[in-house]
Symmetry: C2
Subunit: 502 residues, 2 copies
């Protein structure tokens, strides 16, 4: 039993002894039945008066943690069983939290259960996760940036800061947004704790219970519980290969008051679709006619592996009706929990007030370190490295789909991001396919995570964020093998050639 | 004009030139009227084909940022005026955000305007701020902890993590809570972005619009906008020198369904009152009789400058009805934005689900660095240093109040924390006093920031967190001088001796 006493700490020595032994018991280092050393011996070891140890032991006895018996010494009774000395336990039973949360327990459970599965340990070929691959994290460069900003501005970065964000970081984000065509400056940018907080704050600002939000169908799975949390109604609008179905959206807008449209024009999650320039123009015209607010989620926009640059909706919009959500979680690291919102200033002021009431502001240290990382050019260098790797992975996926998938399956390999999307032939049941895939160690994400109701067709998402070229090839080969077997079992003619999704 | 081209970056050279010049214009480095270098000259400087530069200039002309005139070269027109090349501006006017936010604009404005003033630059004697003094921040030790955990576990700390918090940090917090008598382990602890997020999550979990919450009166000013945000009704219960008025609370509980009581038993903000052990026992008995949930805010609990240890309510409660909110913002640094909630496991699971939908989780890097900081004993050492400093400041405040304040004023110097509380004699108007104090460079916080309605008596708070002993003495002397003058102006007999608040 090792104790460390600190003289002049302000805490009496007997209290230090008592507290540390309590800690050893409560943490399980000292089991029930083990013996404390005799008071005389411990007093010698620690160089304290024996009475000091006796006082400490008495307090432990009084608290019921140990028992002193003549002839057997002082024995540990067990951990966590007894309240502290001086504690008068007040009678009463535990609250029934289900009833405390009662009035909306159903809604609340519904959203709490709706998370995406994100178990990173399962399966040797894990295509489920949009979690970026930590083998590419620029750990050392980020560490150096943290160290640099703490050396330079430590005291002020550890102080309270402005709710809208650390000014140099806001300016840097605005600069990056200008490089993709947005007419914005720092005062149009709000720093948030990752895109998830941006979504939640945006919903808190705009939504009242019962409000309608138009969402792409399929869409980002983690949006759906946020809508339920706000008691908003999601109205699904189907995706086409060019982007969200504008005719269907026009019909919705003609009949319903929609608070906003949530859209991912780049490398949509889960389909990988990037909407065309013409589609973007027509969407904005439609929005203007219906005074529709748009929340554009640019979550993988930095992750373009192939093809030309495409301007975000926010760059095409001069009215301020498009708000833009950005994140470092996919292109850099998720663990900083830093993202940003671009919004019209009238709205941004309100969002910043919400942010202040929600958690005051995002850590200045992290904002300053990211600003330093970008300023040094490390972020752009990192994106270039990712591009080389993922271009190769996407090409491997393309070849593997062409080689292994039956013609009746449809698939999409996007120009950026991490998502592959597969639509199953009519009679193939996803759950059966999924069971077969899991048996062979291949894990994909069921399409139902991306729809408000039941998916209208069999489908699933494969993320290549954490699977290398070999894994992609063998994973897709296994998918193809089972698909063909299941189609044969349906006694339909064997397929000959694959066809792409569009 | 300095440009840096990067070959093999994937971005065409003419686009790099265009983008960088655009950046210089938009950031104001190149003013309206300045000239771009001739294409031939820039091509030579950069070592590129002249056509590359011409293409870039053409794009800038097309975008309306520069103008090419024969004989005058290429001239900058101004920044931010024009959309990017290829951008078809979609017609339409800006949304009226007031109407987008309309259905609850009144509620929403009300809470957005209700912030505490926190302008740190004003006044030479600033007693307004509960912001800790950055001259005491252990910047270098925190920097070393950040560096250490990034070296040791960087990749995993930069990855997504568990919504409830980084496990070693939760275990450490639970250990610290056990040292103040709570029977908890890591699974009872939720890590949040400072106490403010803890408050908001707790309200989100428990409150529906129209619900009632009992609050001490006066109470923590930043709680009130959170209640308004949740459309909850705050029910004020007066403070007594022993703690919240239990008779008044019993009356409220007898007539209203109250979702929870928000209380600060230690060094209450703003009054500095610490409730007595007997009061704590009676409060828990009352809570048991009425099945009342309690949110105990322990925000300055580590900041005890004098007097003996006092167990928190959560340590006296074995039913789980008391939830506890802790923070590092006052005792260490606010800029990390890290706090924690202790709650019954049934509730904690729900709070963690809310946290996940709100911002996924708190940065693992910050949690790991704080865990390392505590593990090294640096936090306890820091608290010991603070104790020495603030004990001296509190003693100075005590002497200054006794020396300078008139007998008809009541004041309180607490045993810990940063808050001094002054109640004015009947006929002294706070606003007039405040104007006089500001004129003399002394800034205090008006009592009305801490009440749900108008304060029932004249009062103000003085925080000594950022004022040294000399400042405390002169500040209180100035308060005393104006109070005496204002009392004399009321033609009442001159006061002779001060009397303390209790």
């Amino acid at each position: 039993m090792q104790l460390h006493l600190e003289r002049g700490s302000g805490l009496a020595l007997h209290r230090q002894i008592e507290t540390q032994i309590r800690g050893l018991i409560e943490s399980g280092v000292l089991d029930a039945g083990s013996r404390l050393p005799p008071t005389r011996e411990l007093a010698q070891t620690l160089g304290v008066n024996r009475a000091t140890v006796t006082t400490a032991y008495d307090a432990l006895v009084a608290s019921g943690l140990v028992e002193a018996t003549v002839g057997r010494g002082t024995e540990v009774l067990g951990r966590g069983a007894a309240p502290r000395p001086g504690v008068t336990v007040v009678p009463g039973s535990a609250p029934d939290w289900a009833s405390v949360l009662a009035s909306n327990i159903e809604r609340r459970s519904a959203f709490a259960d709706a998370f995406m599965p994100q178990d990173r340990t399962r399966g040797r070929l894990d295509f489920t996760s949009l979690v970026p691959d930590e083998q590419f994290f620029p750990v050392d460069r980020l560490r150096k940036c943290l160290d640099e900003v703490m050396r330079r501005d430590g005291a002020s970065l550890l102080q309270y800061g402005p709710p809208a964000g650390y000014e140099p970081f806001r300016a840097l984000l605005a600069h990056r947004m200008r490089l993709v065509g947005m007419q914005v400056d720092a005062s149009d940018v709000l720093v948030v704790n990752g895109a998830q907080q941006g979504l939640d704050l945006f919903c808190r600002a705009l939504l009242d219970p019962g409000d309608a939000v138009a969402v792409e169908s399929p869409t980002y799975g983690n949006l759906l519980p946020v809508l339920r949390l706000h008691r908003a109604e999601g109205i699904p609008v189907p995706m086409t290969p060019e982007g969200v179905d504008l005719d269907a959206l026009a019909q919705v807008l003609a009949t319903r008051r929609v608070k906003f449209l949530y859209t991912m024009p780049h490398f949509q999650n889960p389909t990988g679709i990037t909407s065309t320039p013409l589609h973007r123009k027509r969407l904005l015209e439609l929005a203007a006619r219906h005074a529709l607010t748009i929340l554009e989620d640019g979550y993988e926009e930095d992750l373009r592996w192939d093809g030309g640059e495409m301007l975000p909706l926010r760059a095409l919009d001069t009215t301020g009706r498009v708000c833009y959500l950005g994140t470092f979680s996919k292109g850099l690291v998720p663990g900083f929990r830093v993202g940003w919102l671009v919004a019209h200033r009238d709205l941004l002021g309100y969002l910043a007030a919400l942010k202040r009431n929600t958690d005051y502001h995002t850590s200045l240290v992290l904002q300053a370190a990211l600003a330093e990382f970008c300023r040094r050019g490390d972020y752009d260098a990192h994106l270039r490295r990712l591009r080389r790797t993922y271009r190769t992975r996407m090409q491997a996926a393309q070849r593997a789909f062409e080689t292994h998938l039956p013609a009746t399956a449809r698939w999409r390999v996007p120009q950026g991001g991490y998502c592959l999307w597969v639509e199953l032939p009519d009679r193939v049941d996803f759950d059966e396919l999924d069971a077969r895939l899991r048996h062979d160690g291949v894990h994909v994400t069921a399409g139902r995570h991306f729809f408000l109701g039941e998916p209208p067709y069999g489908c699933f998402r494969m993320s290549i964020s954490r699977v290398d070229v070999d894994g992609i090839e063998s994973g897709i080969a296994i998918v193809g093998k089972h698909l063909r077997e299941m189609i044969r079992a349906e006694s339909r003619p064997a397929p000959r050639a694959a066809r792409p999704y569009v």
